[in-house]
Amino acid sequence: MNTAPALTRIFHQARREWLHQRGMILAWLLWLVVRRWHRVHEAKTTFSSLALADLEGWIELGTLLMAAAVVWRCVSADAPSNADTFSLTRPVGQAALWVGKLLFLLLGVVLPAVVVCGLDWRGFGLGMGQWLVLAGTVVLVMGLIFGFTGALTALASSTRQMMALAVLGMVGTGVWLAMQGEVYHYGEQVFQVVGQQHASLCGTFVAALAALSGLLLAWWVATVPRRRLLAAGLALLTLAAAPLIASVWRYDWITPPPLEYANAAKIGIKVGKADKEDKAPGRGLWPTLRLTGLGKDEVASIIEFAPIDDSSVWPPKGSYSDLAVDESGRDSWLHTDHTRVLFKYSPPTTLWRQSIGNNAMYNGRKPLPAVLQQLRLKREDAITRRWRLRLVVHEMKRVATLPYRQFWSQENSFLIRPGLRMEFNAFAWLREAWEMHGRAHRLSAALLPVDTHRSAHVRGRELSENFIFVLEDPDLGENEARDPGLVQRERRFSSYNDQSRLWQIDENQGLEIRLWTPKEQHAILKTKHEDWVNRLNATLWYAEERGTMDLELTAAQMAEVLAEPKAEVKKP
């Protein structure tokens, strides 16, 4: 018979757990702090010796084991499956015992984890919804550890049984993972389209919720009514059902719709050679194909340009794109048009240099004959067809203008949009150049779209955010536009520091700007390195996506676009 109110007994049990486990909880707190320090250090430090040790996986394993150890100690102290357990004769009651332990675990393990993780979520401009989901995912992950370890410990009557069950569980997980491995091609990375990834993510979330409920229930059944067989059945059923739910789930609530260019109706096409009298000749994609109606800071890039063949899929093989995947491992897709848009923000005679790593546009946009050649088309054939021009429009937005010295000597970070922050280290002399390393740091809940629209889809990948870093020398009237050299996830995985955990996105897309002191200036003007650093300003520009649109060109328009080259008249 229980004489004290339920709440009193629950708090009493929680307090008792604290007295027993406080050492572990303090160690857990310390571990969380070390883990956070390591994550921040890994993300920020360039060529750190610590990175060589590749501790990431070990620390995550340590976190998992430590949380599980707390639960194991907590539950095994009053193992419900052990008939000799003292708690069976205590007047606390099994229900209060279970809730008390859970309360202790929530306060002692989950709450510190949420607080420490929450420190990293600051400064990303995330809304309340994102914060709640992020915290919820931490609770869910910890809940799964509690549920699994709690149920397992509650089912085992001794440590030996517990170890045996744990080993069996690990072997089972290994076999399951091996079977999963069958699905993928050996040695080859399998790329999923975004929609599939998101549906799979939703599936794992639903499966995890089901697993959490089932495992907590199994723990409850093993502890309160003390029906081991039923509890074991429940736990097994849950563990079997969860992967099944995850694999059959199809509904995707994460992927936002693509962004259509809002001013598409205003966009016009001008074909043929520009008329000198024309006061609005438009922006030239090629000399004989121009766009009108773009906003003043907007730049159009060609996603695809190819003829339409109603009997086959568009775009055909050989279609032209400004945004072809760069083989160098850099996610550099900006081109000269993006730099030109920035000209108006400096005096008109400013001398511009450009260092943009888009290899596909290294020599500028391919001339139209080369485009035809790539499509295996002759002009005569090309001008009898309709062509489609798929464009993505970006607007160049100033993020910040700072004295260069600030970039040179200290860390900087800029919020670009909710969930995306650009972070820069100070410049340092590395690998025989002045290098500024940094990252596009994306952090948000993976279960909620952080943006209202998805990025443009180009040749099997999402076009990622990009930037131009402009060094401005107001004294000499010279500017230098540099692409920050963000790395591609697939090709430079070592610089794409992905610290994402279950249902959280935490990615650091590495970047590096390499430059050298302008020796030419110093040799002629007799200036010093420090003068140069002090004199300059630096502006970070963001190419914000405005949307995509399709334009069609008739055969007649194409005849003007692909104007026949004039025959050279030989001089007598």
């Binding site: 050996y186 040695g187 005679t349 511009w352 080369a370 002629i524």
Partner: protein, 850 residues
């Protein structure tokens, strides 16, 4: 012995089911390795769970060492201590169990696998020996562990030891990387690992013996075992340092025979000195040596050992850093790197006129730009301004390459050598990312013994097209079997682009059946010592690779088509310079002129030359001293166009001596001296220019102006390393020098691997120079190289452009500039050497037909 056998039988009865399971697993592993089960077939990938099989075998094998619970001496329920069984008999029985139940089956299974794979007896024995080391190393530690730990202690002990080892391994990596630039885990060798395990096993055995005698407490045992584990870890990690990567010399007799005839030529023209304080340059004094071993296919790699420096009668010595002494496992200087040596040895494996293609983004096959350290220096550094002599010791590592395998590109074709066996499983046309691609699935069986560090590369040769593709564009591993057995099996998918079609779609006419797949192999022969002794020299005389590099970074895309307008608009915004302007204002004006002309590209537009000349005028008139101080490489543009040619307009005889004084430091002024007719007065510079140190770039103008025998000899010497070929072309205009220049051009071609696709450009220049000097072979290479222009990757070293004349004697390349790329490559594709005739007096090839 009876007691020993008795206990052995008792344990065996207890373990027999497990042992039969172990044997069944070994049998299954054997069947899989021999491909009796789950054979490797084209398009069928190996099941991923096969990867877990070795782990399973290891765990089941280790479980055999856990004897029946009442017979564990470390157990608190140790029945064994009450039995009339002496310890010696007990341990003999345990050893017998370990050897017969674990080690022997594993070793025999490996031997059987090697025998059934058709390996020679020496390899079978070696494979069994290595397997025995594996089995002993991985399992020996468990024997004493049973005597050391009680049942309740095992998990705790295991946990603490594993955590200690993991933490120590990480700490060791971080500390070594930070202090010694050495990363022990990365350089871990199998032999080292075995040594580590054996050390741990030995120390554990000693500890168990002491424990059985003195009954140590748990904590003491735990601490001592952790200590043993740490000693084992250190032995495993640092074994590589004691054995210098254990590279086995495969033919020391050949090295001894060839070493006396080894020719090492270190031309001082190639020497660079970066200064002792420079941030740039890993080596402060470097050069590009040329070596000749006297045997085709054999080359040497030079590793710096140390130097002795003699200056002012004092001798000091310095050792090379350990980073350069230890042979790296990957990257430059590694045994695998030796196979990727794009030199004449590689070229001579194939018929003359073969073109080599590499699409690697970095120059993997090219040795362009690679140099070696000429000396090791220690503090206090010698004076760079004082003469010194060097004696530098090298380890000369000898390597031999050969074409170990060659087979036709036909499904089912096979080839075998002493260390590899290949079989083409399937051949697929046009399955790659580009049209005309070729994809094959290849079964590769290779020797896989420890220290088996022979370099290898897969080449594709088309005798029809006279091309060798040095690397596939894609290589995917589809499955691996029998690793660490001594004979490994792999299934690999390889793809090459542009085999059957050019990038523009035109058929190449290549026949798949006539393509040859080749294994290029490099073997380490041995090492010999070598000492290079320098002449007396001053370090300060040698140029820096990095120090004096200036560039104006022309913004071609931003200013294309409006270079002159942009130049004029910007220059119009600056205040004109007057006679009263200060030096600061003059410097600023000069910077604006150079910077604007350079960045806009106006400096390359003839129409802009008058504007540049006009902008230069006040500088030339009023600020000559400033202009004379400028480093030569600061001047933008072509050497024979404004602004470089403008200086001499303003110089008078008053400045003659001042200009001549500056020529060595600012060799660009040599041109001015010649143009002004001061060459005779500049002869006082002759001794310096004729000395052994490198000829300052630009000073060749003076030597040409003097035109005597000595000057010409010096020019010939410099011409060998003249990247722009300007010297050789100028020398060739002098009739007496023509045979010598021709020899230089042909020598250069003879030492060149004609390689297209990579970022290397020197190879193309050597080929085009030889073509200009009338080599039909080189000219044929040029034509075939140009035909591949559309197939080159985005970053490439370009293609050779030999001197071509149209049928009417005009300059072909001027006309060609107007030809778009998509027309250019098919045009060259249709040309043959017979379509041209060589015109020796113009060093050019002339079209026979218009």
């Amino acid at each position: 012995m009876n007691l020993t056998l008795h206990h052995f039988r008792k344990e065996f009865c207890y373990l027999r089911l497990r042992w039969f399971a172990f044997l069944a697993l070994l049998g299954f592993d054997l069947a899989v390795n021999l491909e009796w089960l789950l054979p490797m077939r084209a398009g069928v990938e190996a099941p991923a769970w096969l990867g877990y099989l070795p782990v399973m075998i290891l765990l089941v094998g280790l479980s055999l060492l856990l004897s029946c619970s009442e017979d564990r001496p470390g157990s608190d329920r140790s029945f064994i201590s009450t039995r009339p069984l002496p310890w010696a008999a007990y341990w003999q029985a345990r050893m017998l169990l370990w050897v017969t139940l674990i080690v022997l089956p594993v070793v025999l299974q490996n031997g059987l696998y090697l025998l059934l794979s058709g390996r020679p007896m020496a390899d079978v024995l070696r494979g069994m020996g290595e397997r025995a080391c594996f089995a002993v190393g991985f399992s020996a530690w468990l024997l004493p562990a049973l005597a050391l730990w009680r049942r309740r202690e095992v998990w705790k002990a295991l946990f603490v030891i594993v955590v200690t080892l993991a933490a120590a391994s990480k700490v060791l990596d971080v500390a070594s990387a930070a202090w010694w630039k050495f990363y022990p885990s990365f350089d871990q060798t199998w032999a080292g690992l075995m040594v580590g395990w054996m050390v741990f096993g030995g120390l554990s055995g000693w500890l168990a013996w002491r424990h059985l005698q003195r009954a140590y407490r748990f904590r003491r045992r735990l601490c001592l075992t952790c200590f043993s584990a740490l000693v084992g870890l250190l032995a495993a990690r640092f074994w590589v340092l004691a054995t210098d990567r254990e590279l086995v010399a495969q033919d020391e007799a050949l090295v001894r025979a060839l070493a006396p005839g080894l020719k090492v030529e270190i031309d001082l023209e190639t020497v660079h000195f970066e200064g002792f304080e420079s941030e740039f340059g890993a080596h402060t004094l470097s050069a590009k040596p040329e070596t000749e071993t006297g045997k085709p296919g054999v080359h040497v790699d030079m590793r710096l050992a140390g130097s002795r420096v003699v200056q002012d009668g004092k001798t000091s010595s310095a050792k090379a850093s350990s980073a350069s002494i230890i042979r790296s496992r990957y990257g430059y200087g590694s045994p695998q790197d030796q196979v990727h040596r794009g030199d004449v040895n590689l070229r001579d494996f194939f018929p003359g006129g073969t073109l080599f293609y590499s699409a690697q983004p970095f120059p993997l096959w090219s040795w362009e730009g690679r140099s070696i350290a000429l000396a090791a220096f220690d503090q206090p550094y010698p004076s760079a301004e004082q003469p010194l002599k060097l004696a530098t010791d090298y380890h000369m590592d000898w390597y031999q390459r050969d074409l170990a395998l060659e087979l036709p590109m036909v499904a089912g074709s096979r080839a075998e050598s002493d260390e590899a066996r290949w079989e083409v499983l399937s051949v697929t046309h046009a399955a790659g990312p580009q049209p005309g691609a070729l994809t094959i699935t290849l079964r590769v069986e290779t020797r896989d013994h420890w220290n088996e560090e022979n370099g290898s590369a897969m080449l594709l040769h088309s005798p029809q097209r006279q091309i060798v593709w040095l690397d596939p564009v894609k290589q995917t591993m589809l499955g691996t079997r029998a690793t660490h057995t001594g004979w490994q099996r792999r299934q690999i998918e390889l793809t090459w682009n542009g085999i059957f079609n050019y990038a523009d779609g035109e058929a190449t006419g290549a026949d798949a059946a006539k393509l040859r797949l080749i294994l290029l192999r490099s073997r380490f022969l041995g090492t010999s010592p070598y000492t290079w002794k320098s002449p007396e020299m001053q370090l300060a005389d040698f140029p820096s690779v990095y120090g004096e590099r200036y560039a104006w970074h022309e913004s071609r895309l931003l200013y294309g088509g409006r270079q002159m307008k942009a130049f004029q608009e910007r220059m119009a915004t600056f205040k004109p310079l007057t006679a009263d302007s200060s030096e600061k204002e003059a410097r600023r004006a000069l910077y604006e002129l150079f910077s604007t002309a350079g960045v806009t590209g106006a400096v390359y537009v003839p129409a802009a030359f008058p504007a540049i000349t006009q902008a230069f005028d006040p500088l030339g008139k009023e600020h000559l001293p400033l202009l004379l101080e400028l480093p030569s490489s600061l001047w933008p543009g072509w050497t024979n166009r404004p602004p470089r040619t403008l200086l001499d307009r303003y110089l008078t005889d008053d400045q003659r001596e001042a200009v001549i004084d500056r020529v060595i430091r600012q060799p660009g002024l040599a041109d001015v001296v010649v143009r002004k007719g001061w060459a005779e007065e500049a002869k006082r510079l002759k001794p310096r220019l004729l000395s052994g140190s490198p000829l300052p770039r630009g000073c060749e103008a003076l030597l040409f102006a003097w035109g005597d025998e000595e000057s010409r000899a010096r020019l010939l010497q410099a011409a060998k390393h003249d990247i722009n070929r300007g010297i050789i072309e100028e020398l060739d205009k002098l009739p007496p020098m023509r045979p010598a220049t021709e020899r230089i051009a042909m020598n250069g071609f003879e030492k060149t691997l004609p390689m297209t696709g990579s970022e290397s450009y020197l190879s193309g220049m050597s080929v085009s120079l030889a073509a200009n000097f009338g080599s039909p072979e080189a000219f044929d290479l040029c034509l075939r190289w140009m035909a591949l222009g559309g197939d080159l990757p985005p970053r490439n070293g370009g293609y050779p452009q030999p001197h071509l004349l149209t049928a009417d004697g005009g300059k072909f390349w001027e006309k060609e500039r107007k030809m778009p790329d998509h027309e250019k490559w098919p045009f060259f594709r249709r040309l043959k050497v017979s379509d041209f005739e060589y015109v020796p007096e113009k060093r050019a090839w002339k079209f026979r037909l218009p």
